[in-house]
C-alpha cells in the first residue's frame, strides 16, 4: 500500500502537470483561432454527450501546420534557430575545450577552486548574466570604448541587437555546460597514456590528437548536446541581445502567444519545435547510456 502511494503521488503529479498539458497543446494546435475566451474553437462540450465529442473531433484539422509551411516567417525561424544553435555550439566547444583541458592539467590543489569558479555562474541568475552583456556590447559600451581607445577601430561597431551578440550570449551563458562534461572526461584520463603514446613515437601534438581527443569524445558529445538542446528553444538571449531580424523559434512562439494572441498557431509552433528536438535528445540519451555502460 505504501509502495502504491510512493509511486502514485509523483506519478499523478507529473501526469497532471506535464503529460496532460501536452495533450492540451496538441489539441489546441489542431483548433482554430476565434474571438472568444479562451480564444480558440472548437470547445469540447460534454453536455451534449457522444454527439458533442464527435462534433469536437470533426472540427479538428491540420490547418495551423499547413499555415506554418506556407508562411515564410516560421520555417525561416526554425532554420535560423538551428543555424544559431549549431554555430554557437561549435563556438562554445572551441572556447570551452581549452579551459577544460587547462583545468585537467592544473595542479591538484587548484582544481577544486577552478571547478568552483566554473560552477559558480550556474547558481547566478541567467537573466543577470545575459543582461551584463548589454552594457558591454552597446554602441557606447565598454567593448567599443576599449577598441576605440586602442585605436583598432575609428567608429563604434554595431554588435548589440545583432546575431553576433546572440552568439556571444549563448557561448557565455552555456559555457559551464560545455566545460564540465569535457573536464570530467579529461580528469579521468590516465596521464601515463600520453607518456606511452610518446614512448611509441608520437609527438606531443599527435599524442593529443590520437589519445586525448578520442578519450574525451564522450565529454565533447555530452557538452555539445547540453548546449545545443537548450539553445534551440532559447528565448531570453535573442530577445535581450538580438535584433528585430534575429529569428529564433522561442521568441516567435512567445510573440505569437503574447502579442498576436494566436494560441492555436503558437501551439503548432511548439509541437514542431518538440519534434525537431526529439532527434538530438534521443542521440544525447544514447551517448549517456553508452557512457554509463563503459563506466561499469
Amino acid at each position: 500500500m505504501r509502495r502504491f502511494i510512493l509511486i502514485a503521488v509523483p506519478f499523478i503529479w507529473l501526469m497532471a502537470l506535464f503529460l496532460v498539458p501536452f495533450a492540451i497543446v496538441l489539441k489546441i494546435s489542431l483548433s482554430d483561432i476565434a474571438l472568444s475566451i479562451p480564444p480558440y474553437t472548437p470547445q469540447l462540450d460534454l453536455t451534449e454527450g457522444w454527439a458533442g465529442i464527435k462534433a469536437f473531433f470533426a472540427e479538428l484539422d491540420f490547418e495551423n501546420y499547413v499555415f506554418l509551411t506556407q508562411d515564410q516567417l516560421y520555417w525561416k525561424a526554425y532554420v535560423s534557430s538551428l543555424q544559431i544553435a549549431l554555430i554557437s555550439t561549435i563556438l562554445t566547444l572551441l572556447v570551452g575545450y581549452p579551459i577544460a583541458y587547462g583545468m585537467a592539467q592544473a595542479p591538484d590543489e587548484w582544481r577544486a577552486t577552478l571547478l568552483l569558479l566554473v560552477i559558480l555562474p550556474f547558481w547566478t541568475s541567467f537573466l543577470i548574466r545575459v543582461y551584463s552583456w548589454m552594457g558591454i556590447l552597446s554602441n557606447e559600451g565598454f567593448l567599443n570604448q576599449f577598441l576605440l581607445w586602442t585605436g583598432l577601430i575609428s567608429t563604434p561597431l554595431v554588435i548589440l541587437n545583432t546575431n553576433t551578440a546572440v552568439y556571444i550570449g549563448i557561448v557565455y551563458t552555456y559555457l559551464p555546460f560545455m566545460i564540465l562534461p569535457i573536464y570530467a572526461a579529461l580528469e579521468k584520463m590516465d596521464g601515463s597514456l600520453l607518456e606511452a603514446a610518446e614512448d611509441l613515437g608520437c609527438s606531443r601534438l599527435t599524442a593529443f590528437w590520437l589519445v586525448t581527443i578520442p578519450l574525451s569524445k564522450s565529454g565533447i558529445i555530452a557538452g555539445c548536446f547540453l548546449v545545443f538542446i537548450p539553445a534551440l528553444g532559447e528565448f531570453v538571449i535573442p530577445s535581450l541581445l538580438g535584433g528585430s531580424d534575429t529569428l529564433m523559434i522561442g521568441k516567435v512562439l512567445w510573440e505569437e502567444f503574447f502579442s498576436n494572441r494566436d494560441w492555436p498557431v503558437a501551439s503548432a509552433v511548439a509541437v514542431i519545435l518538440l519534434l525537431i528536438l526529439i532527434i538530438p535528445i534521443v542521440l544525447f540519451q544514447r551517448n549517456e547510456q553508452k557512457q554509463r555502460e563503459m563506466d561499469q
Binding site: L6, I7, V9, P10, F11, W13, L14, L17, F18, L19, P21, I24, V25, I28, P38, V95, G96, P98, I99, G102, M103, Q105, A106, P107, L117, V118, L120, W123, T124, S125, F126, L127, I128, Y131, S132, M134, G135, I136, S138, F142, Y172, L194, E195, I229, P230, G233, E234, F235, V236, L240, G250, L253, W254, F257, S267, A270, L274, I281, F284, Q285
Partner: protein, 272 residues
C-alpha cells in the same frame, strides 16, 4: 603525470576572464554616481538607496522568495519520492512513462513548458497567481531534484537498508532512520537547486503568473528590455553577492567535513 604549460595557463586566464569580467564590470558600475551606465562619474551607493525605495521591486522580490520556498520544498518531497521509485521501485506498470516524465522536463524548452501549463490552467479555469507559479515551478524542479537524489541513491549501499529491516525496522522506518539521514546532503542540494531554479525562472513564470503576481525576473526583464539601468545593476550586484557567499560557504563546509572524515579514517587505520 600532469604537464601544466603556458598554453594551459593562458587559456585558463582568458577563459575565466571571459566568464567573470562581465559580472565584475556590472558590479563596479552599480556604484557609479552617474545615471549614464557607461561613463564613470565617481563612487556612490545611491542606486542601492533608490532600489530599496522601489516598492514594485520589493513586492516582486517578496513574491519570488515565497514562490521559491514553497515550490522547492514541495519539489524536494516529490522529487525524492520520484528518485526512490526510479532507483528502488522495481518493476511496475508505466515505469517507462514515469522515467520519461522525470527526464523530459530537463531538456524541455521553457517556452513549451510554460505554454502547456498555461493552457492547462486556463482549461481547468484556475485563476493565475502565486499558486499557479508554485505548481509550475514544482513540476519542473522536482525532476532536477529527482536526478540529483537518484544519482546518490544509485551509489547507496543497499545492504544498509537490509540491515535496518533485519534489525526490526519496517520499510518506512528503514527509510526514515537510515536512508534519509545518509542521503540528506543530496536532498539538501536538490532543494537548493530547486530554490535557485525557481528564483531564476523568467519564461515559465511569465506564462503562468497572472496580473496579480509579478516575480522579480519578470520585473527585471521588463525593465532591462528598455536598456541598461543602474538600479538593475545594483539589484544584480546584491543577487550575485548572495549567491557567491552561499556557494563559497557551502563549498568550504563540505571541504572541511570531508577533510575531517579523511583524517579520522587515517587515524583509525593507524590504531588498528
Amino acid at each position: 603525470m600532469r604537464r601544466f604549460s603556458w598554453f594551459n595557463a593562458t587559456s585558463l586566464t582568458l577563459g575565466f576572464a571571459f566568464l567573470y569580467l562581465p559580472m565584475i564590470i556590472l558590479i563596479i558600475y552599480s556604484f557609479n554616481a552617474s545615471r549614464l551606465v557607461t561613463v564613470w562619474a565617481g563612487f556612490s551607493t545611491q542606486w542601492y538607496g533608490t532600489l530599496l525605495q522601489n516598492q514594485s521591486f520589493l513586492d516582486a522580490a517578496w513574491v519570488t522568495v515565497k514562490v521559491a520556498i514553497a515550490s522547492s520544498t514541495i519539489a524536494t518531497v516529490l522529487g525524492t519520492m520520484g528518485a526512490y521509485v526510479l532507483v528502488r521501485g522495481g518493476r511496475f506498470m508505466g515505469r517507462t512513462v514515469f522515467s520519461g516524465m522525470i527526464y523530459a522536463p530537463l531538456v524541455m524548452p521553457e517556452v513549451i513548458t510554460g505554454l502547456s501549463l498555461l493552457l492547462l490552467f486556463i482549461g481547468i479555469g484556475l485563476d493565475r497567481g502565486i499558486f499557479t507559479i508554485v505548481l509550475a515551478h514544482t513540476t519542473f524542479s522536482m525532476c532536477f531534484v529527482s536526478v540529483v537524489v537518484s544519482s546518490r541513491l544509485v551509489s547507496f549501499d543497499k545492504s544498509l537498508e537490509e540491515a535496518a529491516l533485519d534489525l526490526g525496522c519496517s520499510a518506512f522506518d528503514a527509510f526514515r532512520l537510515v536512508t534519509l539521514p545518509i542521503i540528506a546532503p543530496a536532498v539538501i542540494s536538490g532543494w537548493l537547486l530547486a530554490f535557485t531554479l525557481s528564483l531564476d525562472d523568467l519564461v515559465i513564470a511569465s506564462f503562468t503568473a497572472g496580473p496579480s503576481a509579478t516575480t522579480l525576473p519578470i520585473r527585471i526583464f521588463s525593465a532591462v528590455r528598455l536598456g541598461v539601468s543602474p538600479e538593475i545593476n545594483a539589484l544584480s550586484t546584491i543577487m550575485i553577492a548572495i549567491v557567491t557567499i552561499g556557494v563559497i560557504t557551502a563549498s568550504i563546509l563540505t571541504k572541511r567535513s570531508s577533510l575531517a572524515k579523511q583524517n579520522d579514517e587515517q587515524a583509525a587505520a593507524r590504531t588498528s
